[in-house]
Amino acid sequence: MPKLKSLEELRTLRESLQRDIKARTETSTTITVGMGTCGISAGAREVMHAILAELEARNIDAHVTTVGCIGMCSREPLVDIQQGDEPRVTYGNVTTAMVSRIIEEHLIGGAVVDEWVVGRVP
């Protein structure tokens, strides 16, 4: 990474990063797994592995990333799904057993699994 030598360079970098992120979200799916200590102790690592395994098995190309604690620790593991322009949907109390249905119905089928949803980020 070249060092930023001025505020201007920082601004330019920011704009290009924003463009990249926009391009990515518009054309693909991002799955976000809460990986703060609360998530980890609730089993988020196992859920993440299950998600990666499921994506591999179904040959789905999605961007999987991790974030820290969003605050709703009592509902961890939390898994967010963002598809294109759709609002980002958060699933709560996710277990490894729930992963395949979320991938199948939501990711592939486009239908949010209402009973497991915590909320939507507009």
Binding site: R14, T37, V67, C69, G119, R120, P122
Partner: protein, 1045 residues
């Protein structure tokens, strides 16, 4: 040809609804529709989920769009008949929106998120903390750029000062001012320290922030360094936070790669870099000077101040220490401006505050709210309230240092000064919620143990004083407390506060001092009565069930005896504390079951049902209570033959006193006879109990009323009674005070129930009845009215369903019996011409909280509507009837017209005592029995010694052997209650609850996990064969030594 269907029945086929029976419902619809020849007109279609399926099976009828929930196949014929054929809605299956819970899809609509204002937490949970690119993409380091290129260090400090930001580490010192001190300190070498050493129990705000958004902290650090002129910074983080350390480490590396740390940052000529210093995890190193010592590699002990770190910090150089949360706010202040920040919050507490919600709260987690929000909102709206519907007791804010905020102060605003006013403190954000099952003595001991471990030991008073306080608290919790202990704790607390060098010592006594300030009676109960009301202190709580029983009935023993089929022995154990096993087996609210430890595993043991079976089994065996002492001559008069009066009479008669009970009504039993309807407690069953008491030698004079047939003076002066017990209960109904209340057709609740009990029930056939109220009397009234043939029965209550004081199972039974509920509604006037023809009702909305902790209802103007009724029954509360008192009886009364009594249940007139509802206000049978026991002890003591003192009687207990293997009952399930079917209840007052059989009851007894045996082992005790009496210092101020002769 297109088939023209006139209606569609949509049955949801999603997995949740299917699991709840949706396919059976669908088949039932198809069959019923076919059977009624409607198959050509009505279609049944299976649909997917609409997201409502926690209330499934869901059925929607189109084209009307009627939504039915929790539909079962048994409901289908009714639905087809009523809705599809007659076009009527079946109310009971429609969705009733509960006052609190809805399916809310958007974050902003979820109270947990919608009420937050995420400034510090702006990026947490949204960006990848291990990616500086994501941080930059959302605007990170722009503030740094702005500060470095377009602001001078002094301008930065001005901005921070003007924002009003106060340190978020706990002490709340104005940040801008602090930075100013460091800037103006002489010297070229200066340091910035970010304190991420979080040690409070229950606190995770710093850790969570460092894990989720480490760059925000780093950016704040760099800006601070620029402002004060520092070249080096330290990020001080406990070694116990591996993820925070990892993410901060990565953040620092990545920032260096981009040139945001190091030489000539962003071409500004400013050089700065940081090191990460790992702390040993000492709580005391949250204090800035202790942290500095730790960074220097020395023992984490605080330093004397002055000099303050701004003058002499790390290695003697000017140093600015701030909590990581404080630093994370800085970039936002620089970007958005001081005015923006100071517009949030209150006058003296600007901005937002993070809270780590923990303890007895539904939504445990991290929230950020604007200053000025109330604790109540935090706990009940963001926090989702207390699990299990338990009562809030207190909240610990600011960690052990903050002391506790009791439930009555829950409307306090989150503000540095407001919290200090009630003796608490803001702290770093930890908030531990405590419910009714918390013992304040135990909690104080828990926190003091923590503080004792964490005390660095430098100051003698902190080091030795906390240890000594723990010893005293331990003594208190094990029943060895002395009266003088409380004053000793307070004075020690003051000394420790005033002589400690750092915040740990200065605030360590707070858990005890605030406990004594707000919960002194709980400490006193431990000391004076050897009781732990919350049921926690092992030494004082043999079993939670018996601890929760107001009369301390020996539950574990009688349940163990019933398990063995020894019903007579079990009943004898029960009667030692409560002679009304038949009645209580039917009507007691069973506080024992609420606290049953088995209930923490699966379901509480069905103690009341066991009691009922045991009592019913011995119904035909007359009980002649044993005489326990020799006959005496002092006569005692008891006014009132309710549970309090009869229990007191029984106990005194057993001690040999001649007792006469005066009852104004034609029947004995008090509220048990004339308040509780027969479908809950049949009169013939109650009379068995009353006959038992008469066999002890108690004389009951019916139809003899105080004030009419005799006066107190008659009893004490003329008739030679040496003591009188007023157990007159609370039989007078409170008035609605609305126009028309005097019309014919208005019956007050207690009058209505009494008339029914005395065989004078009004004829309600075909009448429309409305009852006003939400307590047990109101529910008794509606259920009775239904049985008396009313064509419509309505219940009008001004608050919402969860606020109703009546028991849940009674309210459900009323619903099953077809009572129509009008909640959030209050009557404004009675309509009619001398006779009731209707009642005008006003809708209510819930506003602010009142003293009872419920929201106050206020009328919605213009929302009047009329309910046509023939009978109106107000049942909004009861009071003792004091009409017989003519002002000169010398007896004072208090709130709600109850008698003012000393702790020994003595009234202000010598020789006159009181017990039961007349003292407590409307309560329960078991409370009256407990008071009956207590007042009998007091009267006996008074008659022997002439003194009135509060006695403490520790009841004796049995130890019943365990005759079965508890492991076999690990998975056993509590039996369902059995009830008379609806058809069987109509038009009669037959008992609704049906008994369970012997085998079921004995098996249920074996689900008891015998906490009492565990207690004996823990306490290494031998069992106490008889009640042990302990005399406590006199507490009645009116009686001095001279007056007692």
């Amino acid at each position: 040809m297109m088939q023209q269907y006139r209606a569609d029945v949509l049955v949801c086929g999603c997995p949740a609804c299917t699991k709840a029976g949706a396919s059976e419902v669908r088949s039932a619809f198809e069959e019923e529709i076919k059977r009624r020849g409607l198959a050509d007109e009505i279609r049944v279609i299976e649909t997917g989920s609409r997201g409502f399926c926690f209330m499934g099976p869901i059925v929607i009828v189109q084209p009307e769009g009627i939504l039915y929930c929790q539909v079962q196949s048994a409901d289908v014929p009714e639905l087809v008949e009523e809705t599809l054929v007659k076009g009527r809605i079946v109310e009971r299956l429609t969705y009733k929106e509960p006052a609190t819970h809805r399916a809310v899809p958007y974050y902003k609509d979820i109270p947990f998120y919608g009420k937050q204002m995420r400034v510090v937490l702006r990026n947490c949970g949204l960006i990848n903390p291990q990616s500086i690119e994501e941080y930059i993409a959302v605007g990170g380091y722009q503030a740094l750029g702005k500060a470095l290129t377009s602001m001078t260090p002094d301008e930065v400090i001005e901005e921070v000062k003007n924002s009003g930001l106060r340190g978020r580490g706990g002490a709340g010192f104005p940040t801008g001012l602090k930075w100013g001190f460091a800037r103006s300190a002489p010297g070229d070498v200066k340091y910035v320290v970010a304190n991420g050493n979080e040690g409070d129990p229950g606190s995770f705000t710093d850790r969570s922030l460092m894990e989720a958004d480490p760059h925000s902290v780093l950016e704040g650090v760099i800006i601070c360094a620029y402002a004060i002129g520092a070249q080096e910074g330290y990020l001080y983080v406990c070694n116990e936070f591996p993820l925070a350390l990892e993410n901060l480490g990565l953040a620092v590396e990545q920032a260096r790669e981009y040139g945001l740390l190091g030489q000539d940052i962003l071409g500004s000529g400013f050089d700065f870099d940081v090191k990460i210093s790992r702390g040993g995890g000492a709580f005391v190193c949250g204090e800035e000077t202790a942290a500095l010592n730790s960074i220097e590699g020395r023992i984490g002990e605080p330093r004397s101040r002055p000099p303050y770190p701004a003058q002499s910090g790390l290695w003697g150089k000017p140093t600015n220490v701030n909590n990581v949360k404080t630093l994370a706010i800085i970039p936002q202040i620089i970007s958005n401006g001081a005015e923006w920040y100071s517009s949030i919050g209150t006058e003296k507490s600007k901005g937002t505050k993070l809270f780590a919600l923990a303890g007895a709260i539904n939504n445990t987690g991290l929230v950020e709210v604007p200053m000025g929000i109330s604790l109540r909102e935090l706990i009940y709206e963001l926090g989702g309230g207390i699990p299990g519907g338990k009562q809030l007791k207190a909240v610990m804010i600011g960690g052990p240092s903050g002391g506790c905020v009791p439930a009555q102060h829950i409307d306090v605003l989150v503000d540095y000064d407001e919290l200090a006013k009630i003796g608490s403190m803001m702290g770093s954000g930890e908030m531990v919620v405590m419910d009714e099952d918390t013992c304040m003595v135990d909690i104080a001991r828990y926190f003091l143990n923590f503080l004792s471990d964490e005390s660095c030991g430098r100051c003698t008073t902190c080091r030795e004083g906390i240890r000594r306080m723990i010893q005293i608290l331990t003594d208190i919790s094990e029943g060895r407390g002395k009266e003088s202990d409380l004053d000793l704790l307070e004075s020690m607390g003051r000394i420790i506060k005033e002589t400690s060098l750092c915040g740990l010592g200065q605030t360590a006594p707070n858990p005890v001092l605030s406990g004594l300030r707000y919960f002194r009676d709980e400490y006193e109960a431990h000391i004076r009565e050897h009781k732990c009301p919350a049921g926690i202190c092992k030494g004082l709580v043999r079993a939670k069930c018996t601890n929760a029983c107001p009369a301390e009935v020996d539950v574990p023993s009688y349940v163990a005896l019933v398990a063995q089929g020894r019903y007579a022995d079990a009943l004898e154990v029960h009667r030692r504390r409560n002679p009304f096993a038949l009645a209580c087996g039917r009507v007691c609210p069973a506080f024992c079951e609420d606290k049953c430890r088995r209930g923490e595993m699966d379901q509480p043991v069905a103690i009341r049902q066991i009691k009922r079976f045991m009592a019913d089994h011995e119904l035909s065996v007359p009980w002649t209570p044993r005489q326990l002492e020799e006959a005496k001559t002092e006569k005692v008069a008891v006014i009132g033959s309710g549970p309090a009066g009869l229990t007191a009479a029984l106990r005194l008669a057993q001690r040999g006193y001649p007792v006469t009970v005066f009852e104004s009504l034609p029947v004995a039993g008090g509220m048990m006879a004339v308040g509780i309807p027969e479908y809950r407690l049949p009169h013939d069953v109650l009379n068995v109990e009353i006959e038992n008491i008469k066999r002890a030698g108690v004389e009951i004079k019916l139809n003899t009323a105080l004030g009419k047939d005799f006066t107190l003076d008659d009893l004490l002066d003329r008739d030679g009674y040496k003591a009188v017990i007023l157990a007159i209960g609370a039989h007078k109904s409170r008035e609605l005070r609305i126009k028309g209340e005097e019309m014919e057709g208005v019956y007050h609740g207690t009058q209505f129930l009494r008339d029914i009990a005395l065989g004078k029930a009004p004829d309600l056939t075909g009448k429309r009845v409305a009852v006003v109220g939400g307590g047990d009397v109101a529910i008794d009234a509606v259920r009775s009215a239904w049985r008396l043939g009313a064509s419509e029965v309505h219940l009008v209550y001004r608050r919402s369903r969860p606020d109703m004081p009546a028991r849940d199972d009674e309210v459900e039974a009323a619903e099953t019996e077809g009572v129509q509920f009008h909640l959030l509604t209050n009557p404004s006037r009675v309509i009619g011409n001398g006779k009731v023809t209707g009642v005008e009702l006003l809708r209510q909305e819930l506003g602010e909280f009142d003293a009872s902790g419920r929201r106050r209802p206020s009328p919605i103007p213009g929302s009047e509507f009329t309910l046509d009724v023939d009978v109106l029954i107000p049942a909004i509360g009861q009071e003792p009837d004091l009409a017989w008192m003519n002002g000169d009886s010398g007896i004072e009364t208090g709130r709600g017209s109850t008698f003012a009594v000393s702790e020994g249940l003595a009234t202000t007139r010598r020789g006159v005592f009181a017990a039961g509802d007349a003292v407590l206000g409307p309560a329960t049978v078991i409370w009256a029995v407990a008071q009956g026991n207590q007042v009998a002890d007091e009267v006996d003591h008074y008659l022997r010694t002439g003194h009135v003192e509060k006695l403490v009687v520790r009841p004796g207990y049995e130890v019943i052997e365990q005759c079965f293997d508890m492991e076999q009952y690990y998975k056993a399930v509590r039996p369902q209650a059995r009830e008379l079917a609806i058809e069987g209840r109509r038009g009669n007052f037959d008992e609704v609850e049906l008994p369970l059989d012997e085998r079921t009851i004995q098996e249920e007894c074996k689900r008891c996990i015998r906490c009492d045996l565990e207690w004996l082992e823990t306490m290494k005790l031998e069992f106490v064969p008889a009640a042990k009496r302990v005399l406590v210092q006199p507490v009645q101020p009116g009686l001095t030594e001279e007056e007692t002769t």
